[in-house]
Symmetry: none
Subunit: 214 residues, 4 copies
């Protein structure tokens, strides 16, 4: 097969993205290294030149994804021109209000997936995202829009519920069921943060028409 040379960065990313796609579509354990390299059109050795094992790519995938999500969340959190409420709305909602970047979060957090990918990324999401969101909650406390005693712990619980329940790969909810769960979630979030009722009511505004999940 003709040898196509790429920069290490390109190749590594290519492997990560190909593997991710296949893992998501079929599940980690169903996908062999063979199938990954076939999809890419490279040789076995190329895979093992970049990753020392199949599991190694799995980690790389999660890291890569989370890096992006976290980077964006940090950007939002550190933006001094936004108030806490706007930040939370941006990050916690699946809102399509914002720019492309913002949309990405939602997409990433809610892709259909498989067990291995799922649990790892759920855990990482909670662990890495919660401190950032907690900081926003603290900002909100100061701005008097929230009144939350244990911001980190509260955020962790809320994120956990959201991640685990709404991650549509695990539960097989219909659109209607998803919609109802979002409403409930929104209310619980408001109550947990002691925000004013309706603060996070983007359901009715932004998402009511034809939520595409998947």
């Amino acid at each position: 097969m003709s040898r196509i040379v790429k920069t290490p960065e390109e190749r590594k990313l290519e492997i990560i993205q190909t593997a991710e796609k296949l893992f998501r579509e079929n599940g980690y354990s169903k996908i062999s290294v063979e199938s990954i390299i076939k999809e890419m059109g490279v040789a076995k050795g190329t895979f093992y030149y970049y990753f020392k094992s199949k599991e190694d790519v799995l980690e790389a995938i999660v890291d890569y994804e989370l890096d992006q999500v976290v980077k964006m969340a940090e950007q939002v959190a550190n933006d001094t021109s936004m108030d806490a409420l706007t930040k939370m709305q941006l990050l916690l909602s699946n809102s399509h209000i914002g720019d492309e970047n913002t949309k990405e979060i939602a997409v990433h957090l809610h892709l259909p997936a498989n067990r291995e990918l799922h649990e790892i990324s759920n855990i990482q999401t909670v662990l890495r995202l919660s401190p950032i969101l907690a900081k926003i909650v603290e900002q909100g406390n100061e701005e008097k829009v929230f009144n939350t005693k244990l911001p980190l712990e509260t955020i962790q619980f809320l994120l956990s519920g959201s991640q685990f329940l709404m991650d549509s790969g695990l539960f097989d909810f219909s659109e209607q069921e998803i919609f109802e769960r979002r409403i409930v979630m929104q209310e619980i979030i408001e109550k947990a943060l002691s925000a004013k009722r309706g603060t996070f009511d983007f359901m009715n505004n932004n998402l009511s028409k034809g939520e595409k999940n998947e």
Copy 2:
């Protein structure tokens, strides 16, 4: 090898329990059928006489566990002599108030575990336990101690958060961290159900002395 004959029920249960133990300790995919039968001291064929595949046992394990939890939860839920508040306290807390059975719930729901077993049983827990708890919430609504619009959805979110976050196998929380998260959880539950503040404050009452989270 001396042939030890047991009743089919005993054998099946023995396999379930041995497999469960090993799966929990090492993870489903790391445990081979070989290791299960070695641990039991029986032959390969015996395993396949009782279960048609390795995955079959996994299901059996989850079913077996959940059956017990659900059965107990239903008993509590259907007990006409208890009010909703008491029922919720019994089932949602890790309370040691009650009899052995009640304690079991908590134990089962919070064992250290592994990915595969975990996710399956988390999902099953949410799916099978939420209708029962929702019924109690409805009872609570009627008794005016709760005021929850979408009981099932609310309960699902709360259970998800609880299952996923508190399941100490996934996150590596210290005792202190667990304690804080329980307090937060309790407050969120109260708020989500619109219960009176302190309703579920079993932390201070029942568990204050040295929470053992097995």
Copy 3:
């Protein structure tokens, strides 16, 4: 493929013998597990049911061979009806005088072979055979036919020279060359043990015609 069940002993031996044959013919590293099982007509798993790795069989082969050689040597050594001279002649020579069993030694010690098999079995031969032969030398000392101060060490040197040089796989000697080396060896042995000249002169008697060096 139709399943042919054998007793574990048979199968294990079958694997050992098949592997040995192939290793000898082609060299350890050239032979894959695949080729062994193909030759036997069994499945991969069968191989790994009996041996945990390819190297494991190599050890088993050497052990198996040496066991036989040692067993026979011990039989000779412990035979109280033979004098030391006869024993030494039986064991050190490639003499075909004796029974089938005796012949075996020579055959085993001088098969064409390959590196891995070779060195392992050479070392093992020296280590396991030398104490037995040393005992015979001691007997010879008492019978006044030998006069050897350090029997074990002497025997080890002689065995080493014999094993290493005469092991026709390593050096590519012609029949004539082999013959000359045997004569020299015989004389050195006599001198080393301080035996009477000609004691081990079986060259001229027994082997002169048609040396088979497989």
Copy 4:
């Protein structure tokens, strides 16, 4: 990576020496080309620029070593100012009498090593050194200090025994055991060459103080 240019001779020697070191420490088959170039800090291509295969280096290593040993042995053998006895003593002993060069022989012949390297170099040693030593034996015959009928064959047997047994990598002898084997060896050599008793008794003379077995 900064490109360090060396003369071809330097590079080639560097590869030989690095490979030799690694082969000796870990065994030929355990060492990959990768590990050799990593140790050197050069690229894969560099290795294959100088050697056409991994096995090629193995040969080069043995050749390189033997060349040195043989060159020195020839020097000694061809030195018309020395008598045969002195020559033999210089070459067969592990004597530290002589110059650095002479010491080298012993060092090289007795390094701890691994199977592949070992056997190849043992064989080569025997094959290439024996004619040289045989010539000295012939000189000794003429000088009436030896009386050996088949010098080459005798030397080959003696070298084989010495190489194989004393090569401390294969057998795991203690210092004491090595010492005893050297005494025995020395006596056998004397007897085999029909030299006067004590001719090669350098044990007591030269090595008695603190046998170093490198």
